[in-house]
Symmetry: C2
Subunit: 183 residues, 2 copies
């Protein structure tokens, strides 16, 4: 997998609504968890939003550092995604090691990124909307890379076997793998 | 299509991140537009969020009435979805008629719903986050129905031909139509 910088149309990586892994760390500790509830909220500058329980182990680092990574898995990572969603970092487990996520150094933030994901977005928190037990995190994307087989000319392409993973609930996911063009 | 009331797991209708049609009206005028940027934000009570340009014709009714419908189309409605995204209600066109969306009476809100969509969620605005040119609308779902062929026992099922439509950008969409189970 060769990842290249994405400098425009970053929103289109998240547009189809697939599940992502959110990663964050404070330099000493770090975590990664699965987030189904995410969406772009602006094209330029690119901004994203996701919903997290306030109690999530990894969320504390988002709040503390103001930085997070969004890592987009292909469908073949389904068990890793599910594992990251089920296992809490509070147990002390290193999810990067346990689920063989691969660690990628970010360019502009300190949070770790997931190398095995086909796309990585580096984000800085703009605003957090308190939703009670959960928080709606809004952030600006400050850097992004994607696999050059699956993202070309500013758009996701499915000709090279890309399968996106959309969470249905529990351990069920649906998969998108083909394009249709509207008229 | 026979729609039945959905009283639990409403979030799971939006979980996979497909494109929706948002409908709203003030009793005299009404509108419907395509929204890619949507997600659940709470399971119980069920809450949703979507992003809209402040300039959208239909958005003014969301703001004015505090009510909106979320209508989830199957992939076969791709041209209707695209049409609803391209044509502005400001032109005076009746998109319900032009795109043969079918009109469904809501149970608890006054906004019109799209009968040809396989699921309809009735929502009341809880909060609007001003994002400058756009607005992040957060609402509570107060009623929901779904096609009993595609939503069973609190979950989306794909055995009866359900194909969900995920927006990639422009007139391109990807389709999810099969389930995988993680371990």
């Amino acid at each position: 997998m060769t990842k290249v910088k994405v400098e425009s149309n970053i929103y289109s990586l998240l547009n189809p609504g697939s599940v992502v892994l959110v990663s964050a760390g404070d330099g000493e500790r770090e975590g990664v968890f699965a987030v189904s509830w995410n969406m772009p909220v602006r094209k330029d500058p690119p901004m994203v939003a996701f919903e997290s329980s306030q109690g999530h182990f990894t969320y504390q680092f988002v709040r503390k550092t103001g930085e997070f990574g969004i890592n987009i898995p292909e469908a073949k990572m389904v068990n890793q995604v599910l594992g990251c969603g089920k296992v809490s970092g509070k147990t002390g487990v290193d999810k990067f090691a346990k689920f063989e996520l691969g660690r990628r150094q970010a360019e502009k933030i300190k949070a770790p990124l997931v190398e095995t994901a086909f796309a990585n977005l580096e984000c800085r928190v703009s605003q957090i909307v308190d939703m009670g037990a959960s928080a709606l995190v809004i952030g600006q994307v400050v850097a992004a890379v994607a696999d050059d087989q699956h993202f070309q000319n500013g758009q996701l392409v499915f000709d090279n076997g890309l399968e996106l993973l959309h969470h249905l609930g529990g351990n069920r996911f649906c998969v998108s793998d083909r394009v249709i063009i509207g008229e």
